[in-house]
């Protein structure tokens, strides 16, 4: 009851006309920032942060959250339309979003992404409202061993999936792990795998560079080959009837979306993880639980909905450790933290007790930001889809330029641009040889986290490998991971048995 009272007061603030206007501006700006490859919510929030000092803190945080949410929605747009992840969090959305667009279902994919983002955002905000304070203890219970077990769990969802070649998946994971080791040793700081003595490798290989190379450039090469130079226009258009049909389609995805929401919120909550791993894990699990896993990567609507619910849920989740523990779960929340310090607020265990007005104003603004983000997004979908009606020759060059710009923008290093081109060629060749790309990206994202938590645990436990199994939380994860690893094989065996039996009947 007390909770509802606080929330009501929060809504009184966030529903003021001026704040609604702020939310509208914020989500629209965020949507476009997120849709631009190379720009993500971090850039949006960083640019706007100074402006927020002229308005009261409650309005300021509403604006920042609106941009944060808007960018989360926007990231999916270029992933689907152009095959370039608009933000790191939307990498997994390219896996199936791009194939859908190629099949002329761009509109449906965008609707699915928007609706899934809304569901993920809403479920996670409700979770946040109800359990923020007790859940802080869950975040605390996660030490290095638990983090390692969670990452391992994420990997097993990608290994041995029906449809894919297990051996090829494992090869791609190993390749990703090797790439993730490039740069400086996480613990000692020694340089390792600095290819050709190029200084650019000291800062490691960004998975965004890999993803843009493989999915952006690699995709262009592949498309040029398959379509020759025949001018082709993607027959994409959208009407209100299609919108309605799309929303009905989404209705069938409840299972995927609710799972993605819980998973995303939970993973986002852990300070070491964040929205990108959450989206990838959600994708993996959706594929594992799907009745038609073979359609994943070839334009499955679940493959769009799963990562999009999870990354939005994770963006809410990562606010939790920031507010309750003072530890940001993502680069964007780190910026929000900076803003809060400036407004004289001390994030940490006492914030909910000392500053209820601020906290509940923020929570209620998450509801409104989410609602407006989905409305603005749905309204703009025809515009986005229209962009696809360009002749292929024009679109293709445009996408290539965007790939290079998107890779250059975050690091401002030409080194990364060359890497994108290189990865593009490698990605093209690997795709021709039918290697799955998603495990490679997953390994590069999770590799550093996995390595660090593994080494920390072994240092702390004097090299005792059993530490991962002995602790209750990590032990449970390990058991589930083992199950995930064996489950698809059992399915396979069952299928084989059935095949053997059927002729006998």
């Amino acid at each position: 009851m007390e909770l509802l009272g606080y929330l009501g007061e929060g809504f009184a603030t966030s529903l003021m006309p001026i704040n609604i206007l702020i939310v509208m501006i914020g989500v629209t700006a965020g949507l476009f920032i997120g849709a631009m490859p190379g720009l993500g919510s971090v850039n949006g929030v960083a640019i706007v942060l100074p402006i927020t000092f002229i308005v009261p803190p409650s309005s300021a945080i509403i604006l920042l959250c609106a941009i944060y949410y808007g960018a989360m929605y926007g990231g999916a747009i270029s992933s689907i339309l152009l095959g370039i992840p608009g933000a790191s969090t939307a990498v997994a959305t390219t896996f199936d979003g791009r194939p859908m667009a190629q099949q002329g279902k761009a509109g449906l994919a965008l609707i699915a992404a928007a609706a899934a983002s809304f569901v993920g955002g809403t479920i996670s905000v409700v979770l946040f409202t109800l359990f923020a304070v007790p859940l802080a203890d869950v975040a605390l219970a996660f030490g290095p061993a638990e983090e390692f077990a969670l990452v391992l769990l994420a990997f097993t969802t990608f290994v041995g999936l029906g449809g894919d070649d297990v051996l090829k998946t494992i090869i791609m994971i190993c390749l990703g792990l090797v790439l993730s080791a490039v740069g400086l040793d996480l613990i000692s700081g020694d340089p390792r795998l600095i290819f050709f003595d190029q200084p650019g490798f000291y800062s490691g290989i960004s998975f965004l560079v890999l993803a843009i190379g493989i999915y952006g450039v690699g995709e262009i090469l592949y498309t040029i080959e398959t379509q020759k130079s025949a001018p082709q226009v993607t027959p994409a258009k959208i009407t209100f009837r299609e919108l309605w049909y799309g929303l009905k389609e989404i209705n069938k995805l409840w299972k995927t979306m609710s799972f993605g929401s819980f998973l995303g919120f939970f993973v986002g909550m852990l300070p070491a993880a964040g929205a990108t791993p959450a989206a990838l894990m959600s994708y993996g699990i959706a594929k594992l639980l799907s009745k038609k896993p073979e359609t994943f990567g070839k334009g499955a609507i679940e493959g769009v909905a799963a990562p999009e619910t999870a990354n939005n849920a994770a963006s809410t989740g990562s606010l939790l450790p920031m507010l309750t523990l003072g530890i940001p779960g993502s680069p964007t929340t780190a910026l929000l933290l900076g803003g809060m310090v400036m407004w004289g607020l001390v994030p940490g265990p006492m914030l909910f007790i000392e500053q209820p007005d601020f906290v509940w104003g923020l929570i209620s603004s998450l509801y409104t930001a989410n609602l407006f983000a989905v409305l603005v997004n749905l309204a703009l979908i025809p515009l986005f889809v229209w962009a696809l009606r360009m002749p292929f020759t024009v679109l293709c060059s445009l996408v290539f330029v965007l790939c290079l710009v998107g890779g250059f923008a975050p690091s401002q290093k030409l080194h990364d641009v060359w890497l994108i081109v290189g990865f593009g060629v490698v990605g093209y060749v690997l795709r021709k040889a039918d290697y799955p790309m998603a495990p490679l990206v997953l390994a590069l994202v999770l590799g550093p986290l996995m390595e660090r938590s593994f080494r920390q645990t072994l240092i702390a436990e004097q090299g005792n490998m059993m530490a991962f199994v002995e602790r209750p939380i990590s032990g449970t994860f390990m058991a589930i991971a083992a199950l995930f690893f064996v489950l698809p094989m059992l399915k396979h065996v069952k299928r084989l048995l059935r095949r053997d039996l059927s002729p006998a009947e």
Partner: protein, 325 residues
């Protein structure tokens, strides 16, 4: 094209400024022409990170810079990532770096091809302090309890801290040497992560900066045992200093800003002035007293010399810690 032109222009400016080295009139002429990147040598949520973000927000709020300041964390490899990055930015007038003591220790420990003498010193804002912390659920209340507990663990005592060879690990080896202890040092990504892991019960003690534990301390989740400062800290009046307890253990952490080698003098003047104003701001003065920081402003050549003296000091500290382990 324009990029090249401005680059050439700034080089020309730098050259002319070098000719008129003592002309402070240039200071007001130069302004950043694009957002300034503030590289942070540590991960998110730690003491260095929080402070850098505080500086950024004060600069924005008080309008001390004409362009936005964008903080970027490059905490990998005990700050080696950031050092390499700054080296590659030679001659860039739009990058500054928030440093900590790993400015000396990281290049001393591994050859990453960085000589900090080449960097342009901008301003030292403060000296941060170190405190020995345990989880509030533990039975440890005094330094004697602590030493006894570490001894009883037989080398299994887990001290969390930032990267190996960084400040926290130096303070840890100072403790080991002074009391003849054996401690397992577990490195984490940043001070915030360390603080969380202490409260979560994954490690047994930390030497966090006060600002990193303050939130948990006020919530009654962590307990300070002793401080590594010359005098008691205002925020923890009941916590004794190591010196008081008869152990000459004092260590502090500089919080400074440096710029890449070859930054144009007028840009250096611009940033120095910016930090001077920041140092005088009310927010900063209040923050230092609340968070047990010693504001100790230093700029230019004096700061450059300070860096070199500290580097010498850390070289011997590192030698000691390596012998110990």
């Amino acid at each position: 094209m324009t990029l090249k032109l401005t680059r050439r222009l700034s080089l020309a400016l730098a050259a002319s400024a070098a000719l008129a080295a003592t002309a402070p009139a240039f200071a007001s002429d130069w302004k950043p022409s694009k957002p300034v990147e503030m590289v942070i040598m540590a991960g998110q949520g730690g003491g260095a990170d929080r402070l850098a973000r505080l500086f950024q927000s004060i600069i924005q709020k008080e309008n001390l810079a004409s362009m936005p300041i964008l903080p970027v964390n490059k905490g990998g490899g005990s700050g080696a990532e950031a050092l390499r990055y700054l080296k590659d930015k030679e001659g860039d007038n739009h990058v500054i770096m928030a440093t900590l003591n790993s400015l000396y220790t990281t290049p001393l420990r591994t050859d990453i091809g960085v000589n900090i003498e080449e960097f342009t010193p901008i301003a030292r804002m403060a000296l941060d302090t170190f405190v020995l912390w345990v989880n509030a659920d533990s039975d440890i209340y005094t330094l004697d309890d602590y030493v006894a507990a570490v001894r009883a663990s037989g080398g299994q005592w887990k001290m969390g801290g930032t990267g190996t060879g960084q400040e926290d690990s130096l303070v840890t080896s100072m403790l080991e040497n002074e009391f003849g202890l054996e401690i397992t040092y577990v490195p984490f990504k940043g001070g915030g992560d360390v603080a969380k892991n202490l409260v979560g019960g994954h490690i047994d003690s930390t030497v966090n900066n006060p600002s990193e534990q303050l939130g948990f301390f006020t919530a009654g989740k962590s307990r300070p045992i002793a401080t590594f400062t010359p005098t008691r800290l205002a925020a923890f009046p009941d916590t004794p200093t190591m010196t008081e307890l008869g152990h000459e253990l004092v260590y502090d952490m500089q919080r400074s800003f440096v710029a890449p080698a070859g930054m144009a003098p007028e840009a250096v003047a611009y940033y120095t002035e910016m930090f001077e104003k920041l140092n005088a701001s009310e927010e900063w003065q209040t923050y230092t007293s609340e968070k047990s920081l010693a504001p100790d402003f230093l700029t230019g050549d004096a700061l450059g010399e300070y860096f070199l003296v500290e580097r010498e000091k850390h070289a011997s500290l590192l030698e000691m810690s390596e012998q110990g382990s």
